[in-house]
Structure formats: structure tokens, C-alpha cells
């Protein structure tokens, strides 16, 4: 049974058809990478999964139950997902520790002591114990992104959504973030990762989906898809990324 599945999902932004009949599924404990050029609809697809965007037609099933768009159902469903953004989106007026504890304290109504205890465990996991009391502005991009991962994990989501987590990072800090993601994959966390890091995709992902202009063009086991692309568009995309 897939943990997450979409059926003929369509989404428009005004006249732009950004998702065209998207159907795919993710298994429990799987790491799925979504590849594709900018504007192919990858981010929009992720945002539809945790209902930051509303689909125009089609259905998303979480644990085989269709997602409802009733307000309270949306809030409840979002807790199944953790999301990591390209631009981190940390809360600037809060320390790293407070960024991690805010969700558990306001949404899950965990006590401060308990939330802080767990947050310290998570900050240790992303190797930022010494930055617990630092504000985001004082952290490097890679450090901010790792705080964002800890913040997402604090809500104990069932699926992690990564929206180009390393695209805004300096090359020297990308490694630390990928290292954390690699560990999560090894711990059998269910992850959907939109990325341009082919190395990460090859090494970590079980499966890859390649999207272009709102459509799924190709889908398959990562090794196979990266070494023997079937479509001309994927071949061209891989060439372009590798020779950048």
C-alpha cells in the first residue's frame, strides 16, 4: 500500500497549465526524487501534496484516504508532512531552538520543557547543538537549512517534502545538508525530494520521476533512469545539468 498517491492531478495558474494529469505514488520508507527543469511544476506538485496549493481536479490519497479541502482537514493533513523550502523560511525573530519548538508548543501543545528537550535532540541530529541560541541571520545557509529540517522533524511528520533544499546554498555548505538527508534516508524516512543534485539522486533515491512542462515524462529506478534515459527530453536535461 503506497503511503501517498495522486490520481490525474491538474493545476492551473490562471491560463498556465502547471500540472497535467499527474499520477504517481510513494511507498512507505521510500526516497523519491523529482527531477526537471525550472518551471516544470515540481514545486507546485509538492505544495499540492501538503495543500499549500489546491488542485483543480484529480485526487491525492494519503494512506489511501482522499484529501479533503475542508479547513480543519487541511490543518490536520499538513501535520502528516514536513516541508523544507529552497529559501529555508526560518522564523527570523526566533533562535534556532525556538524555531524548532514553536510547532510542537503551539500546534501539538507540548510543554516548553518537553519541546526543548526534543528540539535539542533534533539539533544534535543535524549537528547544530552549539547554535541552539543563534538567530537565523547569524547562521550560514547550510546551517539554516539544517535548522529547517529539525523544525520539520519536530512535528514527527510521516513524509518529508524537500523543495530544492540545496539550490540556494553555497557549494561548501551543500554537503552538510545532503549528509543529513542521507542519514534520514538510511533511517527509512519517507522522502520526496525536488533537486538538481544528480549525485544525491543516484546515490540515495530509490526511484526518480522526471517532469517537464507540467507532465511526468519518465519514471523509474534511479540508476536505470540516470544511466539509460529513454526520452529525448530527459537525455537533454541530464546533459545540460552534467555539463553546467
Amino acid at each position: 500500500m503506497p503511503i501517498l498517491r495522486t490520481e490525474n492531478v491538474n493545476k492551473h495558474f490562471d491560463k498556465l497549465h502547471v500540472l497535467k494529469n499527474i499520477s504517481f505514488s510513494v511507498e512507505q520508507a521510500e526516497t523519491l526524487v523529482i527531477l526537471g527543469p525550472s518551471g516544470s511544476g515540481k514545486s507546485t506538485l509538492l505544495r499540492c501534496l501538503n495543500q499549500l496549493e489546491r488542485v483543480d481536479s484529480g485526487t491525492i490519497y494519503f494512506e489511501e484516504r482522499p484529501l479533503s479541502y475542508e479547513r480543519k482537514a487541511i490543518y490536520r493533513n499538513r501535520r502528516n508532512f514536513g516541508m523544507i523550502f529552497q529559501s529555508f523560511n526560518l522564523f527570523p525573530q526566533k533562535t534556532a531552538l525556538e524555531n524548532v519548538t514553536l510547532g510542537p508548543m503551539t500546534v501539538a501543545r507540548v510543554s516548553r520543557a518537553e519541546a526543548e528537550r526534543e528540539a535539542r535532540v533534533l539539533l544534535e541530529k543535524v549537528k547544530l547543538t552549539d547554535k541552539a541560541h543563534a538567530y537565523p541571520a547569524k547562521l550560514s545557509g547550510g546551517q539554516q537549512q539544517r535548522v529547517a529540517i529539525a523544525r520539520a522533524l519536530a512535528m514527527r511528520p510521516k513524509v518529508l517534502l524537500f523543495d530544492e533544499p540545496t539550490s540556494a546554498l553555497d557549494p561548501e555548505t551543500i554537503g552538510d545538508v545532503l549528509e543529513v538527508m542521507r542519514r534520514l534516508a538510511q533511517e527509512r524516512t519517507t522522502m520526496i525530494v525536488v533537486t538538481h543534485e544528480l549525485g544525491f539522486a543516484r546515490e540515495i533515491a530509490e526511484r526518480i520521476i522526471f517532469m517537464d512542462i507540467g507532465e511526468i515524462i519518465e519514471e523509474g529506478p534511479s540508476q536505470e533512469l540516470l544511466t539509460r534515459p529513454k526520452s529525448a527530453r530527459l537525455t537533454a536535461f541530464l546533459d545540460a545539468v552534467l555539463h553546467k
Binding site: R47, N50, L52, Y75, R78, R79, F81, G82, M83, F85, S87, N89, L90, F91, P92, Q93, L102, G103, T106, V107, A108, Y135, A137, A148, R151, A152, A154, M155
Partner: protein, 217 residues
């Protein structure tokens, strides 16, 4: 008394009037801000009726002169509600309503200036609209709103001089009274100008300092 220079003779009078101007302006800013803050929340809410109503409010009160609004309250309240209100009430009510219009727009702009990503992040950890607004967005919006709010304070402080026209004894009216008593127009209004300038300039310096401090963090 007669032998003292006029400046000394009227010092207490001027200071008292300055105090009244300050109190009146602060009262307008505080109460107007409270109303404006509430209205800004309605303005950005999904409720069409409330959003439109607050938009119309802000546009009307920002789109007509304070002096005209002052006349409307001064002559209107007695006619419509048969209320005999004091000059102070008239002036205070007018200035509060007027300031509320500006503050609605200042707070609305500040809330909408907070990065969309902050909403996304709040929602992604399961927060409701109200939680995201109160815990994440408003604290950031408040910082954004500080400089324009101080600007509004300076502006309303100067506009409060209009209250003199309906006979309310604030700083400008005090200048008029001293002019009548001493027949020294230049002296009276030079003092009044200096007092307004001293207050507004200090506020302006404070505003610049606050802005610098906000930029740093």
C-alpha cells in the same frame, strides 16, 4: 510681573498648551492604532464584507481633510444626535477616527510585507491561520510598522493645530491668544513654531534611530 520679559510671562501658558497638544496627539495615535490594528486584520480577512467595509473606512478618512472631518463632528453631532459635546471630545474623536484610517493602511501594508514564505513555513508545521498570524506574521509586521507609525505621530501632531479653528486651546490656539494679548504676532508664532519643531524633530531623530536598530537585527 509687568517688568518680566514676555517670554517668561507666557512660558507656563505655552508649556501647558504644548502638553495638551502632546496628550491629544498621543491619545489619537494610541487609540487610532488600536482601531487601525483591528481594522487591518479585517481588511486582510477572507470575509468580503468586512474587508470592503474597512477599505472604504480607510479611504474615506484618508481621502478628506481633517479640518472638514473636524467640522463634520463639531456641527454634525449636535444636529444628528442632539449631543452637546465639548471641544476636547470633538477634537479627540475626529483625530482618532482620522488616525485610525491611516493606521489601518500602515498595519495592512506591514502585514502584507512579511514574506509569503513565513506563512508557508507556519502552515507546513500545522499552524492554523490565526496561529500563523499571531505567532509568526504579526511580530514581524510590528517591526515593519514602527517607522511609518512614528511618521504618523509627527503628522498628527502637526495636524492637531487645526483644532484651534474650533476654539480648542492647544498650542496653536495658545499662540493666537498670546498674539491677541501682546499684539506681537511674530513673537507668538515664532515660539509656537519652535515648540512644534522641537517635538517633531526629536521624534524624527528617534524614528531614525529605531529604523537603524531594526535594520541591524
Amino acid at each position: 510681573m509687568e517688568s518680566q520679559p514676555v517670554v517668561v510671562q507666557y512660558a507656563y501658558f505655552f508649556l501647558k498648551a504644548t502638553g495638551i497638544t502632546l496628550v491629544l496627539s498621543a491619545l489619537s495615535l494610541l487609540t487610532g492604532s488600536a482601531i487601525g490594528f483591528l481594522f487591518s486584520l479585517l481588511r486582510i480577512s477572507e470575509n468580503r464584507a468586512l474587508s470592503t467595509l474597512t477599505l472604504v473606512y480607510a479611504e474615506v478618512f484618508r481621502g478628506s481633510p481633517l479640518l472638514v472631518q473636524l467640522f463634520l463632528v463639531y456641527f454634525g453631532l449636535p444636529i444628528v444626535f442632539h449631543l452637546d459635546v465639548s471641544a476636547f471630545t470633538t477634537v479627540a474623536v475626529s483625530m482618532i477616527l482620522y488616525t485610525a484610517g491611516y493606521m489601518t493602511e500602515i498595519f495592512r501594508a506591514a502585514i502584507q510585507a512579511v514574506d509569503r514564505g513565513q506563512w508557508d513555513a507556519s502552515y507546513s508545521i500545522g499552524m492554523t491561520y490565526t496561529q500563523a498570524l499571531c505567532k509568526v506574521v504579526i511580530p514581524q509586521a510590528m517591526r515593519i510598522a514602527v517607522p511609518p507609525t512614528l511618521g504618523q505621530f509627527i503628522s498628527i501632531l502637526k495636524d492637531s493645530s487645526l483644532a484651534s479653528i474650533i476654539g480648542f486651546m492647544e498650542l496653536t490656539k495658545a499662540g493666537m491668544a498670546v498674539r491677541a494679548r501682546t499684539s506681537n504676532t511674530l513673537f507668538a508664532f515664532a515660539i509656537v513654531t519652535c515648540l512644534y519643531f522641537m517635538i517633531c524633530y526629536s521624534l524624527s531623530i528617534a524614528s531614525r534611530r529605531v529604523e537603524l536598530r531594526l535594520k541591524k537585527t
